[in-house]
Each structure stands twice: as structure tokens, then as C-alpha cells.
């Protein structure tokens, strides 16, 4: 909310610096958004007196002026016809700025010009504000204007405009009076509150207008008054200036009055041309489905039956709370004006304004919340201004259709509770004194504070929140800065991480140790990305949760796997040649369960590896390291048919027969869909499944008491056989000793083993629980293993 300093000064003495004022408002909950000069677009423009004028030697229309700009003579060229020797004019001397235009010394057809003269338009002045401002040409200043002074001073536009952000619970402060009330308290003063003189007028408004409110729920109060014999014309200079300071455009006296009151009192009013209300009868009712009203901006608004319409017996004359109708607009011919000041239900106006995509200043006020007492004040203020401006004669009487309770609410507040909330030791009397500074009357009743909530404080509740609401007000005025910082007392709390959070750290730390960079990808994806992964129709990953209001199609779904985001980031890294190809992400995915049920959320671990150094096996190595860190033994990597991976290069990770995750090389179709120039390997594991398998506190296993004998062998096997098959044969060979830790350590393919064959080099350990193996035992066991392999089609490599 903008607050011009001079406007504020009508209600309070501004007795501190701007900085101090801003600081004090901050402590009361009003944060400064900006603080600007009244003529913020103008800088460096000064007044100058024209000393002489000569024709430009090479340009007929130009005049060369010598101008006294205060202790200095400037040469300015102009084509204006209204300047004369002796005229005092605004000079944008080299270095001055207006908007984005910066003035410099220019050479115009061989003659130097050190700047330009300015017109009234450049200072946003109207004829009412400064005589001559709308003249064709340069603004001729009053003859007694000193030379060399800033133009802001010369035309009295030196105000400062503060803009404070108003919190949603304080709609009353979306007005000059509301902010002034807080400012007065902040400055330690009593506000000089305005008193509206209720102008009685002649005749009775009820003779020209009748109002029927059909839906009192959506329109709790409707007030109206009228004025006639109107003299429509521009509003006076002071009002125009204020409106401009508030960022509004003056239109005509009657319309300006409603805008002025909107700023001053924060309550929207509307001016109807009374003659255009057919049969002199306003009916506030729900619109008919499809009913059309043309609003002041000449747009046709199609209403629905939940919207509130201001109508006469023949049709709409305005969209309630949003905008008046074109058919009843104030024109220069308007004889009689009917002012409407009503309260409309915020939620209904919000819905209407949104649906019509038309959130006007008025609608914004109704949405933030207005109150019925202020509605009447605003109306009387309009009438008072009509009188003051001499814009017409006031008609007596007032219309007031009221379904609202206008009485100030009274509450009892527990003083001790307030002190408990704030950690203060204030008496009821002290609290009452603090509250009186913001015009909230309160009576000291010992441990009870009897508070009368003024009509404008709609935020203070009378229910269970009352103590807290009053605590906030007392605290705000007492000053949060004066409340000490005290650590919590009471019983000891033991801070800790549940296993889930410890496991999450371990996953990330282990994968970082494996060389991975951690990714954070968005949760959004789209049908194209999901379809490109090619999951089977019955795959759960096709059951993505849909957003009702996404940014776009490609962000309309919640991810069901981390793959899409990881692939997006992989492409980015490849394109930008970042030289890194190992990434991981830990994040949630969601599966739609249908109906209104919350989707199933599952935490996943994703890995994506790419580039020359990476392969299926480097990816698998990282997964094995992770499982080993979690003490998970016996994971099996079983060929899978997951469609997003290339056939023959994909596997499921099974532990105890349960799927823990999957890995593989990205399928060429997926590679193409993401436009990946290199092979990419990726994996996804279920974090919950890994957590369930975590052996965080392993039981000690006794160390072998007797020596271990290590043996290696190399066998020749069919190319398409899996090494795990041969390793298991070795470990399960019918021998009397323990065979363990069998592991593949080399694979050879080539002429020495022949086509469609490969040679596997396997190492393993032999030992016994109860004695040192003899040479004979070792030899027998080794030979048995070789024989077993041989019988199963795996001869030793020669």
C-alpha cells in the first residue's frame, strides 16, 4: 500500500527521519517495499529564465535560446512556439533524466544545444494542477519562480511515497487511514482522525431509487446515497495529485471521488448514473447462467449462477464487487449519481473475479476483506466530497439494506495467558495502555482484560484464538525486540535420527565414495517422457499422478521413476561437455491409486553412468559396493526384460527372491528419444527395500582358526553361459572341505579358446573348520572341482 508522506501528515506530525519511520513500521509488521520520490522518473531538471532568443541559422523552425539556469548561461534549442524572452521554463540540462531518456549536449545543424525545455506532460501535470501545464509547447512557470532550482520544488512535487506491504490479516491497512493509524502509534502520537460531516441534503433518495438484496449471504450490507444537478468536470488539483501519487489516473470529479475514497478508506464504492437504472430499482441477485453484462471496459462478461449481479428489473448494470456496467456509466451528461457502497462476500468475489479473469482494484479489496461499518463511512465520505467539490446537490436520506452485525465485539482476555505467550509481566492496565495506541479500547479488570474490538479489526477473534490475537497486538506494540531470547526449559530431549534418515545418509555417502555426483531433479514429467521409456501396459510405473494445473503437458505428471529427470540431466551434461559421467539421485516417486486416496509414495535410489569410462560393469560395481555397505549378501543379478533397457544388457537385482531394483544399458529407442550421443547405463533401487535389508549392527563372525588355501583355475565355457553358474558349481562341488569366496577375476576370448567360447579365470578358497588341510586333502578337493566342471562341460583351459 502506497503512503504519500504529505497525506500521512494530515493525520500525524512526521517528527522523525524517513529511515527511522521505516524502521519503526518494520517493527510493527509493515515491511517497506519501496520508497520513492513523487516525480521518480525525473532527475536533474532545473528552472531557467530565457534571456534571449535568436533564429537558428540553418533551421527555420528552431530557436536558439540563451537561458539563465542560476549562475550559468545555457544554450538551448527549441521548436516550441510559446516561449518568450523572460519566460521561466523547466530545463533538462545535459545530465538530466526523464524516464529512460538521458539528456546530453547535442549539435543540431551546426549549433550546440546543451539540453531541452520540458512540457507539463513530462511531469504528469494537468491544467488544474498547474496553469499552462496542458499548453501546446513548453511549460511556462510562474514568473516569480526562482531560476536554478529543481523543477520538483518549483511545481511543488517534492513528496516522498512509502510503499508498505500489508499482511493478509490486516485488510484495514490497505487504506491511508488504516496505515496512518499504525503510523501514528509507531510515531508515538495520537492520530488526528478525520471526522465526516454527514451532509443531510434535500429530498429523499428513496424517491429515486429502491434497492432489493435477494442474496443477503453474498451481500451482507448495501448502502446508497445520491446527488443531483451534477456539474461533471475535472477534479481539483489536490485530488488529482493524490490519485497520481497512488498510481491512478484522474478521470472526472465523480469517478475520482470514488477512487479517492477507495484509497482513503479502503472501501470500494461505485457511482451509477441514476437515470440509467431502469425503473429506479436496483436488485442484487445471482446472475442467470449465461447472462451477459458489458462492463465499463466495454467487454462482455458472461456470468454464471454463482456470480452476484447488480441489476435493474431489465438486466445487469454491474458485476458485483468487480466492475460497473457500461450502460450506467457516469458521463458528462449525467444529472444524478447514485453511489453504491456495499459489502460482498470475499470468497464469492474471488471466484467471480478469477473466473472472469478480471481482478480489478475493487475486487482485490473485496477479496482481501472489507467490513460493513467502513462501507457506510466510505459512502458518507463520497457525499461529503461531492459537497466539498461543489460537484452537485446532495439528495437527503440513505438506503441501507443490512444483514450484518454492526456492533463492536467485546472479548475477555486472560492477562496471565497473554504474559505466558509473550514471556512478559505486564499488568492489565499496561496492556490496555498499549492497545489504546492502536485504537483498540480495553479495560483493566485485574487478571482479565475486557477488550472492545473496533469494527476495522476483523482479524481479532473472539474464540479460542482471542488470547493469542491480543498477545500478538500487545507484543507488536511492546516490541518483539524487547522480548528476551530464552532457551527452552523443562525435561531433556534426546535428538536423534531414525534408521531411515541414517540409511539415507549411508546411501548417499557410499555412492559419493563410488565417484557419483548427487542430482536433484524436479518431480514433474510428462506423458511423452513416460511413454518413451516403453513400460508394459500393466507396469505400475505407467500409473502416474496427474496434476490439475500443470505448467504444461511435459510437466503434467508426477514422476514414477527417477529415470526421466536423470536422463534429462545426463543429456545436459553431455551437451555442455562437463566431462563427468557418474550421477545418483535419492528421491520420491508416486503411483496413482485411483479415487481420492493419497498416491503411494516410494523413495528410490537412481544411478546414471555414461561416457567412455563407464559400462554395465562399472554401474554394477557401484551397486555391489552399496549392497556390501548395507551388509546385504546374496544378491542375484538375473537377466530381465525391462523395456527401457537394451535386451541382453539388463538385469533385475534380486535378494531372497524379492526384487530390489534393476539396472541396464539404456535401450536404443530411449537413447534416441533423449537424443543421447553415447551409451548410458542406469539403475533404480527401492530405498525402502534396501532399508529393510540393512544389517546396521552385524553380529561378529569368529575368524577362521586354520589357514586358508587359495587356488585359481581357468575353464573354457560356452559364450552364452553365465559365470555365476560355474562359480556356484565350484562352491557346491562334492568335496569334504569348505569351498568359499569363489570369484571371477578374468575373462578371455580369442583364438586360443575358439569361437563361441570364453575362458573364465576363477579364484576360490579352501579351508576346514577344525584342522589345517593336508596336501592330500587339497589335491583331492581341487581335482574333484575340476572333474565336476569337466562333467558339466567346462574343461580346464589348456
Amino acid at each position: 500500500m502506497r503512503l504519500p508522506k504529505t497525506w500521512l501528515q494530515e493525520y500525524v506530525d512526521f517528527n522523525v527521519t524517513d529511515e527511522e519511520f521505516i524502521q519503526r513500521m518494520m517493527w510493527r509488521g509493515f515491511e517497506l517495499e519501496s520508497c520513492e520520490k513523487e516525480l521518480k522518473a525525473v532527475s536533474g531538471v532545473i528552472t531557467g529564465k530565457i534571456l534571449s532568443m535568436q533564429k537558428h541559422p540553418n533551421a527555420d523552425k528552431l530557436t536558439v535560446c540563451q537561458v539563465d539556469i542560476g549562475g550559468k548561461i545555457a544554450q538551448i534549442l527549441t521548436n516550441a512556439k510559446n516561449v518568450f524572452v523572460g519566460a521561466v521554463v523547466p530545463v533538462a540540462y545535459a545530465g538530466a533524466k526523464i524516464g529512460s531518456q538521458e539528456f546530453t549536449v547535442a549539435n543540431i545543424r551546426g549549433v550546440e544545444s546543451q539540453g531541452m525545455f520540458c512540457s507539463g506532460e513530462e511531469f504528469n501535470l494537468s491544467e488544474q494542477e498547474y496553469p499552462g501545464a496542458e499548453a501546446d509547447g513548453i511549460l511556462i512557470l510562474r514568473a516569480d519562480t526562482p531560476v536554478g532550482i529543481p523543477i520538483e520544488k518549483a511545481i511543488d512535487r517534492e513528496d516522498v511515497i512509502f510503499d508498505f506491504s500489508v499482511l493478509p490479516n490486516r485488510p484495514d491497512c490497505n487504506s491511508i487511514i488504516g496505515l496512518a493509524r499504525e503510523a501514528a502509534a509507531a510515531l508515538g502520537q495520537k492520530m488526528k482522525a478525520p471526522v465526516i460531516a454527514r451532509v443531510p441534503g434535500e429530498g429523499d433518495v428513496k424517491d429515486i431509487m429502491q434497492v432489493t438484496v435477494e442474496n443477503g449471504d453474498l451481500c451482507p450490507r448495501y448502502c446508497g446515497r445520491a446527488a443531483t444537478n451534477l456539474k461533471i468536470g475535472p477534479s481539483p488539483a489536490w485530488m488529482q495529485r493524490r490519485l497520481k501519487q497512488m498510481g491512478m489516473r484522474p478521470i472526472s470529479n465523480i469517478v475520482d471521488i470514488t477512487n479517492y475514497v477507495l484509497m482513503e478508506y479502503g472501501h470500494p464504492t461505485h457511482a451509477f448514473d441514476a437515470a440509467c437504472i431502469r425503473e429506479g430499482h436496483i436488485i442484487v441477485r445471482n446472475a442467470k447462467e449465461g447472462e451477459v453484462v458489458t462492463t465499463l471496459d466495454k467487454k462482455e462478461r458472461v456470468m454464471d449462477e454463482n456470480m452476484l449481479l447488480i441489476s435493474d428489473p431489465q438486466g445487469g448494470v454491474g458485476v458485483a464487487g468487480v466492475m460497473g456496467g457500461l450502460n450506467s456509466e457516469i458521463t458528462e451528461n449525467t444529472q444524478t449519481v447514485f453511489f453504491e457502497s456495499a459489502v460482498f462476500k470475499a470468497s464469492n468475489i474471488r471466484r467471480t473475479a478469477r473466473k472472469l479473469r478480471h481482478v480489478t482494484d475493487a475486487a482485490a479489496r473485496f477479496i482481501k476483506g472489507v467490513e460493513p461499518v467502513n462501507a457506510e463511512l466510505a459512502l458518507e465520505r463520497c457525499i461529503e466530497l461531492v459537497q466539498e467539490l461543489g460537484a452537485g446537490s446532495i439528495i437527503g436520506g440513505a438506503i441501507d439494506v443490512c444483514h450484518a452485525d454492526l456492533k463492536d465485539r467485546e472479548i475477555d482476555v486472560d492477562v496471565n495467558h497473554v504474559n505466558r505467550i509473550l514471556n512478559t509481566r505486564l499488568s492489565a492496565k499496561e496492556m490496555a495502555k498499549l492497545l489504546s495506541t492502536i485504537e483498540v479500547p480495553a479495560q483493566d479488570e485485574g487478571e482479565n482484560l475486557h477488550v472492545t474490538i473496533p469494527h476495522f479489526r476483523t482479524d481479532i477473534e473472539s474464540g479460542i484464538e482471542a488470547d493469542a490475537d491480543i498477545a500478538e497486538e500487545v507484543g507488536r506494540i511492546y516490541g518483539f525486540e524487547n522480548i528476551p531470547a530464552v532457551l527452552m526449559e523443562g525435561e531433556t530431549f534426546r535428538g536423534s535420527l531414525a534408521p531411515k534418515f541414517r540409511a539415507e545418509d549411508l546411501v548417499k555417502d557410499t555412492l559419493v565414495a563410488c565417484g557419483c555426483l548427487e542430482m536433484y531433479n524436479y518431480n514433474f514429467t510428462g506423458p511423452n517422457a513416460l511413454n518413451a521409456l516403453g513400460f508394459d501396459a500393466k507396469d505400475e510405473r505407467n500409473r502416474a499422478v496427474k496434476l490439475l494445473n500443470p505448467f504444461g503437458e511435459d510437466q503434467s505428471l508426477m514422476r514414477t521413476t527417477l529415470y526421466m529427470g536423470m536422463l534429462d540431466s545426463a543429456v545436459r551434461n553431455i551437451r555442455r561437455k562437463t566431462g563427468y559421467g557418474r550421477f545418483m539421485e535419492v528421491g520420491n516417486v508416486h503411483f496413482d491409486l485411483g479415487g481420492d486416496a493419497l498416491p503411494r509414495e516410494e523413495e528410490k535410489i537412481g544411478l546414471v553412468f555414461f561416457g567412455e569410462k563407464e559400462s554395465f560393469y562399472t554401474l554394477k560395481g557401484a551397486i555391489q559396493t552399496l549392497l556390501s555397505r548395507f551388509g546385504v549378501a546374496g544378491a542375484r543379478y538375473v537377466k530381465s526384460d525391462s523395456p527401457c533397457f537394451q535386451p541382453g544388457r539388463r538385469a533385475d537385482i534380486l535378494v531372497n527372491g524379492q526384487k530390489l531394483g534393476e539396472l541396464g544399458q539404456v535401450h536404443p529407442a530411449v537413447q534416441e528419444a533423449w537424443d543421447l550421443p553415447v551409451a548410458v547405463y542406469m539403475a533404480e533401487l527401492s530405498f525402502e527395500a534396501l532399508l529393510a535389508l540393512w544389517n546396521e549392527t552385524p553380529t561378529f563372525q569368529p575368524l577362521p582358526k586354520f589357514p586358508v588355501v587359495n587356488r585359481d583355475l581357468a575353464i573354457v565355457v560356452p559364450e552364452n553361459s553365465e559365470s555365476i553358474h560355474w562359480i556356484e558349481l565350484i562352491e557346491q562341488a562334492p568335496v569334504d572341505v569348505i569351498v568359499e569366496k569363489a570369484r571371477l577375476f578374468d575373462v578371455y576370448r580369442g583364438p586360443a579358446v575358439g569361437p563361441f567360447k570364453k575362458s573364465l579365470a576363477i579364484t576360490f578358497n579352501l579351508r576346514s573348520e577344525d584342522h589345517t588341510l593336508t596336501e592330500e586333502e587339497i589335491r583331492t578337493a581341487f581335482e574333484t572341482i575340476i572333474r565336476t566342471l569337466n562333467e558339466n562341460g567346462a574343461p580346464l583351459r589348456q
Binding site: S347, E465, F480, G495, S496, A498, L517, Y522, N549, T578
Partner: protein
């Protein structure tokens, strides 16, 4: 005989001096002390001598043996010393050459680092970690937090909806409702997680970001406790020299509500671009939990008190590491990630 000993001594000394490598010492030892050695021969010849002569000669031989052995040992030490020196010279390295990294080490995302720092600070103050789902019921995200359907403050947080009743949570505050429904007070929870708002992506906005909610429910909590807790927490996070200030604000789920500013860590309070010249940076929203919220979850607000605060992990990360554009945090460019 004396002469023989003297001769052996002199000859041995000469030969010892003439040796060129350690291996030759063994041969000399054999020649002197071995079965066919010269000293052995002398001892063997002693049978012919008288008892006195024998003992005199024996003593002489032993003395010579010890003498020579010591001389040989010292010669051996010389050889070893020399050999080692040669080896050191041979094996000397260019210490300025590049070190060999065993394997590329990865990096945690800076947001994970910030999250852990915040978490550790709060765990140290007796908080436990708890979390809730990213897709939430409207009830938990709004209604039970004192934001009924028509509440104007719903507009403060533009929301992604799944349907009328389900949405992407706009803050971590619905975790408060879940905590109140799950645990008996008193408790102190920190509740991290992703939150979502309909905000187009730009340098300072992201539709997805990470928040940590702090939530304490106990019997006699007050605004001073909130202030004390946050002051200690922010100092744990940004250093002991950071100052904080609590100023009034508004949130529907707290009353009184406040915002916490900290002295700008970039300019130390002098005023800069980051703090927009004010010397202060807005760091979190907080307040005493609204009695309606406690009552909605079955607690008597006269008996129980609570406070809550919510801090943006993205924002703290940006401040802590001086990241000027929030988009980096979700683009996963390796050149960004490897800096942390």
C-alpha cells in the same frame, strides 16, 4: 706365536681395508675363523704348549678375534650405509609430479550438505527427524492448519492440485498435523522435505524447493523461547557472530507470527546487493502455533503451547555458498556439483 698373531692382525686389517663389497666379508671371516681358518689353526696348534703358554695364547687369540670381528662389523656397517645411500639416490622421486588419485570421488549436492548442517544443529538441540508425504490432503496442508477453504491466505501459496482433496504440499507444515496426530507431546521435531508452488522458474524461484520445518510442543513455551531457539540455531548454522532479529509478520497457522532476519553474512550488516542495502536477510518464518491448529488436532490450547518455524534449504544454500541463481540447484551440471 705372538708374532703370528701380530701378522694375522696386520694382514687381516689390510685385507679388510681392501674389500670392495659386503659379500667379501664372509670369505674373510671364513679365512680367519672358519674350520681351516688361520686363527683356528693357531688354536689347534696350542696342544703342544704348556698350560701357561696355552692360556696366554688363548687370551691373545680371543682378544684378536673380538678385535677383528668388531672391525668387520664396522666395515659391514660402512658397506650397508654406502649401499643404502646409493639406493636412496637411485630411488629418488620427482616430488613435484602429480599425485595419483585412486578413484574419482563424488560430491554431495550442496542442498544435501545444507540439509545436514541444519539437521545436525537441531538434533544437537534435542530435535528428532520426522517426515510426511509430498502429495498431501488439502485438509493437512490447509484446513487443519487454520486455512479453511475460503481463507484469503490460501492465495499466498499458489498450489498444484491433483483433485479437490489432494494437492502437492505447499510447505512442510502439514507434517505438524501428522506429528500431532501420531505422537503424544511434549516433542521436538524437525521435518524436512520437498514442497511445491506454482512459481515459474527464474533466478530466485523454483516450483520445487526444499524446506525444513521445526515444531516444538510443550507445556510452557513462549515467544522468548522461540527467539532463543532460533537465535541459537541460526548461530549454529551461520556462525557465532551472526545477529538475528524477530519482527512481526502473519501466517494463518501461527499467532503471534514473526519473521526472523539475520545480519547479512555477505556485507556483515553494512548493506549490499544481497540484503538490498538493509544489512538484514530474511531467513525464516515462524510463530507460536495457532490455538485452532492445536484444537483441530485434539490438544487443549490452554494446556499445551507450541511453536514452529520453516526454513528454505535452497535459500540457505544460496546464501551459504553465494549461489546467485537457484536454477543451478536443479540442473545438475557437473561443473556446479563438483564445486561443493
Amino acid at each position: 706365536m705372538e708374532n703370528d698373531l701380530q701378522r694375522i692382525r696386520e694382514e687381516a686389517q689390510q685385507r679388510l681395508n681392501a674389500l670392495t663389497e659386503e659379500g667379501d666379508l664372509n670369505a674373510l671371516q671364513q679365512q680367519l675363523f672358519g674350520k681351516a681358518g688361520e686363527l683356528t689353526a693357531i688354536l689347534r696348534s696350542m696342544g703342544k704348549l704348556s698350560k701357561e703358554e696355552r692360556s696366554e695364547l688363548g687370551a691373545g687369540v680371543n682378544k684378536l678375534k673380538q678385535e677383528l670381528e668388531a672391525a668387520m662389523e664396522s666395515r659391514r656397517a660402512q658397506f650397508r650405509q654406502k649401499a643404502q645411500e646409493l639406493r636412496f639416490e637411485r630411488e629418488a622421486l620427482d616430488v613435484t609430479e602429480e599425485g595419483v588419485t585412486p578413484q574419482m570421488l563424488g560430491h554431495l549436492h550442496p542442498m544435501t550438505k545444507t540439509y545436514r548442517t541444519i539437521r545436525d544443529a537441531l538434533v544437537g538441540m534435542g530435535f528428532q527427524v520426522f517426515d510426511g508425504p509430498e502429495i498431501e490432503l488439502d485438509d493437512n496442508n490447509f484446513t487443519l492448519l487454520n486455512l479453511p477453504l475460503d481463507h484469503p491466505a490460501r492465495d499466498m501459496q499458489d498450489t498444484f492440485y491433483i483433485n479437490d482433496k489432494v494437492l502437492l504440499r505447499t510447505h512442510t507444515s502439514p507434517c505438524e498435523i501428522r506429528a500431532l496426530q501420531t505422537f503424544k507431546p511434549p516433542f521436538r521435531f524437525l521435518m524436512p522435505g520437498r514442497v511445491f508452488r506454482v512459481d515459474e522458474v527464474d533466478a530466485s524461484h523454483s516450483p520445487v524447493f526444499m524446506q525444513i520445518e521445526g515444531f516444538v510442543v510443550d507445556r510452557n513455551l513462549n515467544l522468548a523461547n522461540l527467539k532463543g531457539t532460533l537465535d541459537a540455531f541460526i548461530r549454529a548454522l551461520f556462525g557465532e557472530n551472526v545477529k538475528t532479529r524477530l519482527r512481526p509478520s502473519y501466517f494463518p497457522f501461527t499467532e503471534p507470527s514473526a519473521e526472523l532476519d539475520m545480519s547479512c553474512t555477505i556485507c556483515k550488516g553494512k548493506g549490499c546487493r544481497v540484503c538490498k542495502g538493509t544489512g538484514w536477510i530474511e531467513i525464516l518464518g515462524c510463530g507460536m502455533t495457532n490455538p485452532h491448529e492445536l484444537e483441530n488436532c485434539g490438544l487443549d490450547p490452554k494446556e499445551w503451547s507450541a511453536f514452529a518455524f520453516g526454513i528454505g534449504v535452497d535459500r540457505v544454500t544460496s546464501l551459504k555458498y553465494g549461489i546467485s541463481d537457484i536454477r543451478h540447484e536443479y540442473e545438475n551440471d557437473a561443473r556446479f556439483l563438483t564445486q561443493f
